[in-house]
Amino acid sequence: MNPVDWLVLVGAIVGIAAYGAWHTRHTDNLNTYLKGNYNTGWLTIGVSVMATQASTITYLSLPGQAYENGIAFIQNYVGLPLALIVVCAVFLPIYRKLGVYTAYEYLGKRFDAKTHLLGAALFLIQRGIQAGITIYAPAIILSTVLGWRLDLTIIFTGLLAIVYTVTGGSAAVNLTQKWQMAVIWGGMIAACVVLFLKLPNKATQIAGALGKLQGVDFTPDLKRRYTLLSGLLGGFFLSLSYFGTDQSQVQRYIGGAALREGRLGLMFNAVFKIPMQFLIVMLGALLFVFYQFQPNTPVFFNQTEWRRLASGPQAASFQAIENKYAAVQVQKQEKIRAWVAASERGDAGAEAAARASMIEARDSAEAIRQEARKALRSADPKANTKDSDYVFITFILTQLPHGFIGLLIAVMIASALSSKAAELNALGTTSTIDLWRRFRPLAAPDEARDVRNAKWFTALWGLFAIAFALFVSFAENLIEGLNIVASIFYPALLGVFVVAFFLKHVGGSAVFWAAVASQVLVLVLFFMGKMYPSHEIGYLWLNPIGCAACVVFSLAFQALIGRNGSAIGQTIQSA
């Protein structure tokens, strides 16, 4: 980072924060603070919904995920457009018709207070954990980039997000996200242009031959994380939960000027999400090709961690690993060039032999990377040995011209603030409406007090996220970590909403205990999978299983309980 980078960085961040704060400085009622106001346009909603889920993790972790495992992760999103159609046709009209502040208020109206609280609690647990993850990623990256201590960047990012959210509210988030998306895409396009200029000939073919372009896997294997089937079914239910029942999303689109605005905003996402994610994973696959030909490609991309431990007592073994990796890289380059030459000649026999040799070299290089991770663990058992989140940031810092580096770092901070603001806002809203108002009903009519409370809750959740990020580390790639947490806590919640919408004879007690039972089932499945890895199913499958279990348990419990008491809640039609 040189002075130009710093100038761009500070200018962009201050500009975005000032714009949002100035345009929303008169936010003074609960409706506006929590839902935005009812004149948010469809483009703003669409971009806002997209920006809420496209955090810094997306732009840094997703290329790294593709670098390591190819573009198969894109299948995670294939169920999303179908889910958004269902949200538009079913969920959104109901929320709008009822005029609710939070999705969980609807559960209270449809069922009872305990189901309302359960829905809100599941959301708060899940989103609270995710807030800790989303704050952790940009902080650790900033720590690498700026050379600051990790705990300081976590605190700095977290406090900035709290101030940004509390001073602006939902409308500020919406307003500034549109510009942040523009900046983000400007930076991403700049990175792509630089990458394309530096790629060798036949880069796409090389990525394909090295197994990085398998975007669709038709096998019905439940143990594989990403297949077309798991994406269609698991991804559908995951997206349905995310867009239909997660307050951080619901809050975006119930703030539309009309139902039409919310629907168009979601349809905007349904069309652009897969192409957007595809471009990002392709970027990762092409980064893999780029680093096959790059001299001094690091054996471990988290160089801060590597250097810290490589300068310790085991320096010699770290150096040996680096030397071995450099030698294998040279051999691999020769083999890739041999394969390209053979395929250009159209010599099928030579091409097949060269391909096998190239893949063997790739596997040897990967084995050395594993050895490097073992060495890190040996030097420090608490060392972070997952480096895929550092691939893109390494490219940015070493390959982009100065000025662009500052811009992209600004983009990361802006994107982190966006997703953090949306999350904290949703957590603050839900805590106020679904907990505070319920336990302090006499205070409910005081709207100014509710706004103050919402801001306090927002700040408290921000502090929780900071604390979580300071004390928790992750074994998974961060973007997968977010999806795994969602897949554990969403399914039961989605099941409750499905019962609410489609099974009108099921009452509050039945669905409440069904949700508890299905949540326990999902937790058991997840942790049993961790204890017995040979039986572990891909996490996306937890979504349809948990949701279906909640629906089936609800029907069974309702049959046991009967139609007495609170069995028949207020139906959608009567609302």
Binding site: Y38, L84, R96, G99, A207, V216, D217, R260, A270, F278
Partner: protein, 47 residues
């Protein structure tokens, strides 16, 4: 402040080329099918 009343559910999408929401949903579905087909083609082409 309460949101606008119920009839908005039947409001047309107001997007050129689409008279009903069903038309918008069909378009999104077809676009989804196209995306999956292109992904499958890409995977096959670079297998």
């Amino acid at each position: 402040m309460k949101p606008p009343a119920a009839p908005e559910e039947h409001d047309p999408p107001g997007v050129p080329g689409f008279r009903t929401w069903r038309g918008v949903y069909v378009f999104v579905f077809l676009f989804f099918v196209l995306c999956v087909a292109l992904l499958a083609l890409l995977s096959r082409a670079f297998a």
